[in-house]
Symmetry: none
Subunit: 226 residues, 2 copies
DNA sequence: CGCAAGTGTTACGAACGGGTGACAACATAC
DNA sequence: GTATGTTGTCACCCGTTCGTAACACTTGCG
């Protein structure tokens, strides 16, 4: 499954040059010639990354970048700016615009490909970290502290949420009660291991049909199965 | 403990060049001049990686690679292909052959060493991740606490699982009942050694056809054979 | 063959592990 | 203050699992 990259520039030569090199590097390329088209395609096709020319007719590249950041659908997409003015670099990378990298024209296509790879790689490892976890119909939004089953919210207490999150993060692998105590209750915990059982029960109660994911491995511990 | 690398090429100059550089880099090097010898040594010595020339007398390197992939003993060993034809690269890396990397001749020995390091590093972190033992059709996934035969799950109790895992980990070597008691039941179990027999029996029952791997060594103990 | 030691097989009571309901100790909200 | 929610603990219950003993079978040996 190739990653899609949107190239935005009004000069068709630049677009072609970039597109050729990116295709060579194994990416899917779509392009846009002006800001409006760029925004539309970005929102409709959700590329993995956008290469954006600073100077665009009518709506400036700057504007496109800002608007992309404002729309939650495109806010997370990395942007690389192409610019002729070295003096604008600070603004490009600053918070105002939030581009992820830049290149000054004329640029080497090879260099561009390398930077794209780097950014996508970084993003990938970050995504794996943050994780709003989705297990079929079960969703866990870690930063927001929300869990839901088939779109319906599940009310969980803090410990229950932590416990569930941990099990999901280590899905498949069996976790012993000691391990769970260490990682959910933080270490020390002079807490009885049977307490874990009680919490598992409460979790199962609240999860309802989704409780089938919580697997007991007798003599060992608990496990989240898909 | 040095990692062993098998270098396969019919030109002794190439072999020597590669061997010299690999030894310099801290690897143990064994070599083979043709496909048949390569397969034999690969299977017998289980090197950490194989450097394979595309062109070999009689049996092509391609063939060696395919056959290695087919044998479960060597299927997991990474292969780096040396080739003169840039046009064949896709095939080399594709699913058909499953080589892990390639270099076109003439190549820089330095480059080769770097790639080997990279591949072995990648493999290492991967192996640490999936701690599953595969013995032909029998698979034991320790962290998931799952055992299966020909893809079908086998329900084992905690002790049975431990016992099986231990035997598999020490496959080939006979384990006395005392040893098994110590290592599976932990501490100085005051347990009767005959208990082991009972558990072996239960294991064999549950394993069904896979029970043939569990070997009794009269007067000594038990052993897992391939 | 006959014996003894080693191993397989069977059966069973006891112990264990985990589900469950109840409850006290808190914390928090009202 | 009361009401409510959360959390750790306990006691009880039940099915599973385990260890053992008794018995049957196999093997090696004189």
């Amino acid at each position: 499954m190739k990653q899609k990259i949107l190239v935005v520039d009004d000069e068709s030569e630049t677009v072609e040059l970039v597109a050729f090199n990116l295709k060579q590097a194994g990416y899917d390329v779509i392009s846009a010639a002006d800001g409006e088209e760029a925004l539309k395609k970005a929102k409709a096709q959700l590329p993995a990354l956008v290469v954006l020319d600073w100077m665009l007719p009518e709506m400036e590249g700057v504007e496109v970048c800002k608007l992309m950041r404002r729309d939650s659908a495109t806010a997370g997409i990395p942007v690389i700016m192409l610019t002729a003015k070295a003096s604008e670099i600070d603004r490009v990378l600053g918070l105002e615009l939030g581009a992820d990298d830049y290149l000054t024209k004329p640029f080497s296509p090879r260099e561009l490909v390398l930077r794209i790879k780097k950014i996508l790689e970084r993003k990938k490892s970050k995504d794996a970290d943050v994780q709003s976890l989705t297990m079929g119909e079960l969703t866990i939004d870690v930063p927001r502290h929300l869990a839901s089953w088939k779109g319906k919210k599940i009310d969980l207490t803090a410990t229950e949420f932590k416990l569930l999150t941990l099990l999901v993060q280590r899905r498949g692998r069996v976790q012993s009660r000691d391990q769970l105590l260490r990682d959910v209750w933080e270490y020390d915990s002079m807490i009885d291991t049977r307490t874990v059982d009680t919490h598992m029960r409460r979790l199962r109660e609240k999860l309802g049909p989704a409780a089938k994911f919580l697997d007991t491995v007798r003599g060992v511990g608990y496990r989240f199965v898909e």
